[in-house]
């Protein structure tokens, strides 16, 4: 049943044309970012080669920041899609089609989550072709690239589940979108705040969303980062399911 709901989500997204618009916007914006990073690298590459120690390669100077920009850009896409699938459906009462069917809240949330995750993956695929284009004339650190991609997917899972929870609280899509974006922004800001605190309080950085992605982007797989994202995703999805179970009470 989760697969059926996910298929229905994808059908709706592709039929409205929203996914194509998002694809065009993401290709335009991230294409521009990629071009700018590559151009800057080309201009300053001779300097990097003369750096003492080991010189920085194209993976560190182009792909690493490009994946970081992609992460930030997908915060926006996650916000939009999560709002669309829960808050907008509640507002237009199409959520009642699910709630009056013999479907459990677990099926509804997980099905919708899977649908939106696959839609985001569809948007991400053409973006990933850009760094791979470098392989035509140059060589990249494939391990580094794949680790960054894994980090990106784990972060996306966590942000999407958080967005689902936030979207399940509101009836107004605009309000929900603002709530999601503010929460993602604040969770990312924890890292920045931690830098200004004394060493005793630097543990606060451990809760920051992007903090745990840094290792992946640097080509390091740390089990603590994987556990963090899996825990966060599980927690927010469970909370979203519980929230949907309370839907009749919340409708009062």
């Amino acid at each position: 049943m989760i697969r059926t709901i996910a298929q229905f989500e994808l059908l709706k997204l592709f039929k409205t044309g929203k996914i194509w618009t998002l694809l065009a916007v993401s290709q335009f914006f991230l294409g521009f970012v990629f071009y700018a990073l590559l151009r800057e690298y080309q201009l300053s590459a001779p300097q990097y080669l003369t750096l003492p120690g080991f010189p920085l390669g194209i993976t560190e100077k182009v792909i690493h920041p490009f994946l970081a920009w992609t992460t930030l850009f997908f915060f926006l896409i996650t916000t939009l899609l999560a709002t669309q699938t829960l808050t907008q459906e509640r507002k237009s009462q199409t959520l009642n089609l699910y709630l009056t069917s013999a479907l459990s809240p677990t099926h509804i949330i997980l099905g919708k989550f899977l649908g939106i995750f696959l839609a985001e993956f569809f948007l991400l695929l053409p973006v990933l072709i850009m760094p791979l284009l470098i392989c035509i004339t140059n060589s990249i650190d494939v391990g580094h690239f794949l680790t960054g991609l894994l980090g990106l997917l784990l972060l996306q899972t966590a942000t999407l589940s958080l967005a689902f929870l936030m979207a399940s609280f509101s009836r107004e899509p605009l309000l929900a979108a603002m709530m999601i974006f503010m929460t993602l922004f604040l969770l990312s800001l924890l890292e920045w705040m931690g830098r200004f605190l004394s060493a005793d309080y630097q543990w606060i950085m451990e809760f920051a969303l992007l903090y745990h992605c840094k290792n992946f982007l640097s080509g390091i797989i740390d089990s603590r980062d994987i556990i963090y994202y899996c825990f966060l995703s599980g927690l927010f999805l469970c909370a979203s399911i519980l929230r949907l179970q309370q839907e009749p009470r919340m409708n009062r």
Binding site: Q93, L95, N96, T100
Partner: protein, 213 residues
């Protein structure tokens, strides 16, 4: 406890803004074959009662027991304008777990009965209000649930379509329970066994066959 009833409600009470009771101490027992009409002006609690029975609202007091799947049509049509009737129907058939071999005949049957065959490949958003209302009814009836809860189902239909639809519901009624709301008493008289008349003063029960209030 009524074991043979498809819907039962005990002391159902629902407040608006925590003080104003919209539905108060409503008791219902609806057995298979029963049809209940909720009649009254706007804002007297018909939609709230239907949503309470459908489990979309939780009562402040009392209990609702439902036995079996429900088909629900709300006052605001829950439709996706970007999909065609056919796409929506196929998706709903899967979501409502209609056996695979029954899906196509069931789709054809209800498209035919609701005069939607010609429009099945048309986007729902491009249909007229009356046609969209029929799509709303189609989604409620597609899985042929034992319990049908319809909020103003004839809204937007022309007189001929209303007659067709009411006769369609009459055929559907045996062995099932239907609860529907309407503004028009004659419509309720045609189909319902029991009529609940909603007014600002409360709910009055009215049996159309002996006309006692």
């Amino acid at each position: 406890m009524h074991n043979d009833s498809l819907i039962s409600a005990e002391n159902l009470t629902y407040y608006k803004r925590s003080t104003e009771a919209i539905v108060q101490n409503l008791n219902l027992v609806l057995k298979p074959g029963a049809c209940l009409a909720l009649v009254g002006p706007n804002g007297t609690g018909k939609t709230t009662t239907l949503k309470l029975l459908a489990g979309l609202l939780r009562p402040h007091q009392g209990l609702v027991r439902i036995q079996g799947a429900i088909g629900f049509l709300s006052d605001k049509l829950p439709l996706y304008p970007e999909l065609t009737i056919n796409e929506l129907a196929k998706a709903l058939a899967k979501l409502r777990q209609i056996p695979k071999d029954l899906q196509a005949p069931r789709l054809d049957k209800w498209l035919h009965l609701l005069h939607l065959e010609r429009h099945q490949h048309q986007l729902i958003g491009t249909l007229s209000r009356g046609q969209q209302q029929r799509v709303g009814l189609f989604q409620a009836l597609l899985h042929e649930p034992p319990i049908l809860l319809l909020d103003e189902p004839t809204q937007g239909l022309d007189p001929e379509q209303i007659t067709d639809f009411l006769s369609c519901l009459r055929d559907y009624k045996p062995g099932r329970t239907i609860v529907f709301s309407t503004h028009y008493l004659p419509e309720a008289d045609l189909l319902a066994d029991t009529i609940l008349r909603f007014s600002n003063q409360g709910i009055l029960q009215h049996d159309p066959h002996d006309c006692t209030v």
